[in-house]
Amino acid sequence: MLRWIVWRDLILAWRRRSDILSTVFFFVIVVSLFPLGIGPETQLLRSIAPGVVWVAALLASMLSLGRLFANDYQDGTLEQLLLTPQPLFLVVLGKVLAHWIIAELPLVLIAPLVGVQFDLSKQTLWVLFVSLLLGTPILSLIGSVGAGLTLGLRGGGVLISILILPLYVPALIFGAGAVEATIIGVTPAPNLYLLGAFAVVSLLFAPWAASAALRISLE
């Protein structure tokens, strides 16, 4: 049943692939604006790259998280999902997994390409890729709580950023920290381990909290 939920969301996303593309473009544009705002000095660009790419990833997921439950809520399919004979957190987990594949994985894949703009070395690009691969599930997981809480509220899009961005801080610090460590020639391992640990904690708590949020919002 879990796989059907993932499958369902993947089909839906494929039929509306322009949504996926616009998130990716947003990510690329935000990252490319920084050199324009700061100047083309390579040394400086290299040192801000980890933070810029990571913050852009956080912002890009804000765009897609608004849609995580909202479309299903509007046409009434979310109610039906709540009435399926399986624990709600599995439904949430399915939707989160689908969100990660649809909205986060493309960012992870394109990030090394974007990183080239910042003159990052091959090794650094690799660490950037790994850190996003480990860290973006956190964005989908914690984000699902915010998406559930703000369901159907006016100004939900802005609200979700205020609720969720502060909770992303550890992911940002460990994720960007790993890349930065590589740039200054230190091992990124501790940061990556912490990032992984945070991902596990999110996996344990977020689906539960998001299920509670959905029940509350649908009452």
Binding site: I142, V145, L149, T150, L153, R154, G155, G156, L159, I162, L163, I164, L165, P166, L167, V169, P170, I173, F174, G177, E180, A181, L194, F198, V201, F205, A206, A209, A212, A213, I216, S217, E219
Partner: protein, 241 residues
């Protein structure tokens, strides 16, 4: 159960009214005493001069900001788990006070930072985590403000507060971690300041005053919330009658 009776908002309303002076007056007295001890009795610090005296407000404010967040989450959680409306209202009443103390600690921190570090703002670990704490408060208040149905607002706030409380230690740790990695940006205290006895006394008095003030102001705000909600409820009842 006699106590249980007071868990209903309508019953608690007059009780809260009677309790307020019992907290407000001692709070005012302790503020006066604490400030007097802090400004006139406590000696001038040999390194920081008189600028350090702002810590008599800064430190209790920072502590209150943290404590109140946890307290708010506990109240919200109880309100959600046991469907206790008063407890949820308490959480909403605490949020604003907590946010205010957090903001106060940031502002006073900046005032202290300027003469001591030579800058209004430094990305020091404690200030950074206090700033994020303020964001968390802002999220809670904004979420509750955006929801019209009070029952949903209470519960949604509870989920957010609980997620926040689980996350706060991780955020604090990560900021600490981030700070030690970027040694260059850190400005450390110039040696460990020795705390003279009157300094500690003033600090503790101010902390007690802040607690009493919080209780009093939260009760005032709680009464407003009760009035607002019960009024809505009774107006609807009239319409339906």
């Amino acid at each position: 159960m006699k106590l249980y009776k007071y868990a209903s908002p309508a019953m608690f309303y007059p009780v809260a009214g009677k309790m307020i002076p019992w907290f407000a007056i001692p709070a005012a007295l302790l503020f006066a005493v604490g400030l007097y001890v802090g400004f006139f009795v406590a000696p001038t610090d040999f390194q920081q001069g008189d600028a350090y005296r702002i810590m008599f407000i800064h430190v209790p404010a920072a502590w209150m900001g943290m404590f109140l967040y946890v307290l708010m989450a506990i109240y919200a959680g109880i309100g959600w788990a046991f469907n206790a409306r008063l407890s949820s209202m308490m959480a909403s009443a605490i949020a604003v006070t907590g946010a205010m103390f957090t903001l106060l600690s940031l502002v006073t921190g900046a005032f202290w930072g300027k003469p001591t570090w030579g800058t209004w703002w430094a990305w020091d670990a404690r200030m950074t985590s206090t700033l994020i704490l303020l964001f968390l408060y802002a999220g809670f208040i904004a979420l509750q403000a955006a929801i019209d149905d009070p029952r949903r607002a209470d519960r949604a706030g509870a989920v957010l507060a609980i997620v926040g409380v689980i996350n706060v230690p991780i955020i604090y740790f990560s900021v600490q971690w981030w700070n030690t990695l970027h040694q260059g940006a850190t400005i450390r205290l110039l040696g460990k300041p020795s705390i003279a006895a009157p300094m500690l006394t003033a600090l503790l008095i101010m902390l007690a005053a802040c607690w009493l003030y919080s209780v009093a102001i939260v009760l005032v705000r709680l009464r407003c919330i009760i009035l607002e909600r019960e009024q809505n409820a009774s107006r609807l009842a009239e319409v339906n009658a």
